[in-house]
């Protein structure tokens, strides 16, 4: 499709809900849920691996206000997964609502339903449980083929063959390659071999997990939840509870942040179960502690990279082995690991002769991981971009020039990315522009500030995808109203990203109307057309195209109705935004057409269109960090972070910029301050914001973001995606800067002041 002139796409339109949000109106789950619901709380396991020998709720039930208490004996015995993925899910069916076998500190033991919080809390303390404590698998490096099995059960059920085996603690495993990597490595002038470790960091969205449920006026289960995946959630609940999908309705109000956390149905099943049992409204609100210890964080990964290159810096071979820690359950385990290779190796398509990518995903007795922005790419890119920086250092080549010699460029086919074409790729321009705005030449060398502090810079590149190729489905319904305005109904979930607004911008440009004339509604399984949901950087690219298709079809319908009004052939009229014009110049206004659609009419003034893409065009990005490091204390301050992003067409530059800035800030947190550790018994230490330090506005330095646009021919208005890629560059870029300042490569995150102060220069 040729590049169109646009009135709204490419403009910084305000988010449609912005004033509601900024003025504190009641728009979130807890604000809109009717009062008087039963309070649902969970008794959680104090042990990392244990069997409930006996459980006695007699005394707890006597607490005034307690309505009921449920244990493993009360729930359906059909295993399911909480992963919000397209059926058949790659994640194994390994959960019960409550299981007699507890697999991590925080695994639910009992569900308490009470009239108020105090009663629920008191009852929780009075439930008597006798545990048979088992050995636990707490180090993911020892999980594979460990005699202790996290899932010994016989009804463990994988729907897809992803190389999993519960009798080996394996969620998934696999290998893919192109060329003979050992052969090429043997012929390289230099081979580097290092292992990089990233932790199970938390999304820490400001609104914790929460769900309200009741029975609607037809007696069906109605679920109001802070979720990115209304349709997947309905399917998950249907299987977990054993009730038909037609008996369930899932809707989301505004969402207080997701970042992938809410692509897993973390909280929905518990109040839903209570409502089905009692017939009464029920609500669960996770505390911050529960969100930290029993949520759906990033998969801890250890990525071993072997890189082979020539003396002149030509990167010829990459060999990756990723070990991923899925924790106690397999949600998103088989899929996240793939991105650690698929979204890192292709960055070097320009010179690569061979690659191999092998992986194991293991169960451990730690919190189950899930989906977090970047989804494995973040971990793989930390490893690959770090080792490329190490190569630059070894060869005394500027790391930006080294990348210029090797990077993927527009028009190339990417063997490590399913042989997809780089239709639109401005990575080279991103690098050139970032070098310029950052003043790389002058900032890259270490500068001693003379007060015990040094300033140093680092660089990294990144890519991601735009939706899941051949899987994700986006749909849009567009309807004409009597006054010539439109309703756009979608099943994607705006979790603060602004997708409701950018989709309305696209619709307004397609329909040649003011963006204010497009009202947006999402998402409700009873109302919305099917959408996989908002994840995998899919909404702009996949759902956006569905919006474009729906508008094109609606224009045909409008022309048909208009032609009838004008008494001419539909083929002879043209759509002009506020009217339809016949060949002879006569017009029918949109308002007249809309009213005509309601009288003696057989052509719907609404259309639903669906879109799916066989490819997932990568956005690209370059990030550069300048830090100041205190050599005595190891304290690191990010002074400036510059980034240039190629997201195709930035549909709304203001929102794309804030996505980028927000992703960089999260990346800075993951790199420097957000730690995830456990005590010897597997109990998480960083269970509150006291210990889990997400960056404040004093910790992120100055962020400067620009765009180098490309035009993706398969995307709506040339757009690709922006939501996830933005978190991928800070870890390698900052680790690079820290090495420049200290001479030490840190290959494990987070790089805390203690680690830096104690760091020994690398001998490798």
């Amino acid at each position: 499709m040729p590049e169109k002139t646009t009135k709204y796409v490419g403009k910084a339109v305000r988010k449609k809900d912005s004033l509601q949000l900024l003025l504190g109106k009641p728009v979130y789950t807890s604000d809109v849920a009717p009062k008087g619901a039963l309070v649902v709380q969970l008794l959680r396991s104090p042990h990392a691996n244990a069997i409930v020998k006996t459980i006695d709720t007699t005394i707890a039930r006597k607490v005034p206000g307690v309505v009921d208490i449920y244990t493993w004996q009360d729930v359906p015995n059909q295993r399911y997964t909480n992963a919000g993925q397209t059926y058949p899910e790659p994640s194994p069916y390994d959960r019960l609502i409550l299981d007699r076998h507890l697999r991590f500190v925080g695994d639910p033991v009992a569900i308490i339903a009470a009239e108020n919080e105090k009663a629920a809390h008191k009852a929780k303390k009075l439930i008597k449980v006798e545990y048979e404590v088992l050995d636990a698998v707490l180090d993911f490096r020892t999980a594979k083929d460990n005699p202790t099995l996290v899932h010994p059960e016989e009804d463990w059920l994988p729907l897809c063959d992803v190389g999993g085996d519960n009798h080996r603690n394996l969620v998934a495993s696999g290998e893919e390659k192109d060329g003979d990597v050992e052969d090429v490595l043997a012929g390289c002038d230099i081979v580097l071999d290092h292992t990089y470790h990233t932790r199970a960091v938390n999304q820490a969205m400001m609104e914790t997990f929460r769900t309200y449920t009741d029975l609607d006026r037809y007696g069906r289960l109605h679920v109001l939840s802070s979720t990115q995946i209304v349709f997947h959630c309905r399917r998950i609940l249907s299987r977990a509870l054993g009730i038909p999908k037609s008996r369930i309705r899932v809707e989301k109000p505004r969402i207080g942040g997701g970042f992938g956390a809410k692509q897993t149905s973390v909280s929905e099943v518990y109040p839903a179960f209570v409502t089905m049992k009692t017939g009464r409204p029920a609500m669960i609100v996770y505390t911050r502690e529960e969100s930290q210890i029993a949520g759906s964080p990033r998969h801890e990964m250890e990525v071993r990279v072997r890189l082979g290159a020539d003396k002149d810096g030509r990167i010829r071979a990459l060999d990756l082995y990723t070990l991923s820690n899925s924790g106690a359950y397999g949600e998103h385990g088989p899929t996240t690991v793939g991105l650690s290779g698929h979204k890192s190796i292709p960055l070097y398509t320009g010179s690569l002769e061979a690659f191999r990518f092998r992986y194991d995903v293991v169960y451990t007795n730690l919190q189950a991981a899930g989906a977090y922005r970047g989804y494995g790419a973040t971990q793989g890119i930390f490893a690959v971009e770090s080792i490329v920086n190490e190569l630059a250092e070894k060869l005394h080549i500027d790391p930006t020039e080294l990348r210029d010699r090797n990077m993927v460029r527009q028009g190339m086919t990417m063997p490590a990315y399913y042989n997809e074409p780089a239709n639109a790729c401005a990575l080279d321009r991103c690098m050139a522009r970032c070098r310029e705005i950052f003043d790389w030449e002058h900032r890259y060398p270490v500068r001693d500030m003379g007060n015990g502090k040094v300033r140093a810079a680092g660089v990294a590149m990144a890519m991601q995808g735009s939706g899941i190729s051949g899987v994700d489905v986006g749909s849009a319904t567009i309807k004409l109203s009597e006054d010539g305005t439109y309703n756009l109904v979608i099943g994607a979930a705006d979790m603060g990203t602004g997708c409701d607004t950018i989709l309305a911008q696209m619709a307004a440009d397609c329909l040649d109307c003011p963006v204010e004339d497009v009202a947006v509604f999402s998402a409700d399984t009873d109302v919305s057309p099917y959408d996989s949901g908002s994840y995998a950087s899919s909404t702009t690219y996949v759902t956006g195209k569905a919006v474009e298709k729906a508008c094109t079809e609606l224009i045909d319908h409008i022309c048909t109705i208009g032609a009838e009004l004008l008494g001419c052939d539909a083929a002879g009229v043209t759509f002009e935004g506020d009217c339809v014009r016949a060949a002879d110049g006569r017009t029918a206004s949109l308002t007249d057409i809309a009213y005509k659609a309601q009288v003696s009419n057989n052509c719907a003034a609404e259309v639903t269109a669906t879109h799916s893409s066989p490819i997932s065009p990568p956005p690209f990005m370059v990030g550069m960090a300048e830090i100041e490091l205190d050599k005595l204390t190891g304290e690191v301050r990010v002074l400036e972070y510059d980034a240039v992003v190629d997201c195709g067409t930035p549909v709304n530059p203001a929102l794309a910029r804030v996505q980028t800035e927000g992703g960089i800030a999260q990346g800075i947190g993951m790199t420097l301050t957000e730690n995830v550790t456990y005590n010897a018994a597997g109990k998480p230490i960083e269970s509150s914001f006291m210990q889990y330090k997400v960056p404040t506005r004093l910790d992120v330095g100055h962020l400067h973001v620009e765009f180098e646009s490309s035009y993706e021919p398969t995307g709506p208005f040339g757009a690709k995606s922006i939501g996830e890629i933005v978190i991928n560059t800070p870890a390698p870029a900052i680790a690079h800067a820290i090495m420049r300042a200290t001479g030490v490569w840190h290959r494990e995150l987070p790089i805390t002041p203690e680690v830096i102060a104690m760091g020994e220069p690398d001998q490798a």
Partner: protein, 159 residues
């Protein structure tokens, strides 16, 4: 216990408040939905309200301590908020919005205390207000644009 206080300009009397009720829970029960809780450990700033015009963290204060005092939430400051929140919206920095009420409350407190703050003063004053979406830069740009616009309006008579 009975709690009497002034909430957003009107007298409120609530009998039978449990003594351990936090000000956060009390205000939510009074219909002040703008007040949010993000952490329960006084680390995030989402629950910021004014007690006698001074910002406090309502999750970490007992409702009883507010008895006899003047409590203000964003519901009671709509006009003052409207003066500048549009500038945040223009940056797209509202994002998910869950931290916005606490951020807006504390920005109002900042501007009442220091009507023309520097960027460093803004960052320092708001450092207790976490935001996981925006990376903070857009919030800063929004406040800066608001101040610039207000200052240029002020300068008009002298021009």
């Amino acid at each position: 216990m009975e709690i009497k206080l002034q909430l957003n300009g009107r007298a409120v009397r609530v009998p039978d408040v449990d003594p351990d009720t936090t000000l956060y829970d009390f205000l939510r029960a009074q219909g002040c939905a703008s007040v949010k809780c993000g952490c329960e450990t006084s680390n995030c700033g989402l629950c910021t309200v004014f007690l006698d015009d001074v910002p406090v963290l309502s999750c970490s204060m007992l409702a009883a301590r507010a008895a006899g005092h003047k409590v203000t939430t964003l519901e009671g400051l709509q006009a003052e908020a409207e003066e500048f929140v549009g500038f945040i919206a223009d940056q797209g920095a509202d994002q998910c919005g869950f931290c916005n009420p606490g951020f807006v409350m504390n920005t109002i407190a900042l501007l009442r205390e220091n009507p023309d703050p520097t960027d460093e003063e803004i960052k320092a004053y708001l450092s207790g207000n976490l935001c996981r979406c925006s990376g903070y830069e857009g919030q800063l740009r929004g406040i800066r644009r608001f101040l610039d616009s207000r200052n240029s309006r002020k300068e008009v008579p002298h021009a």
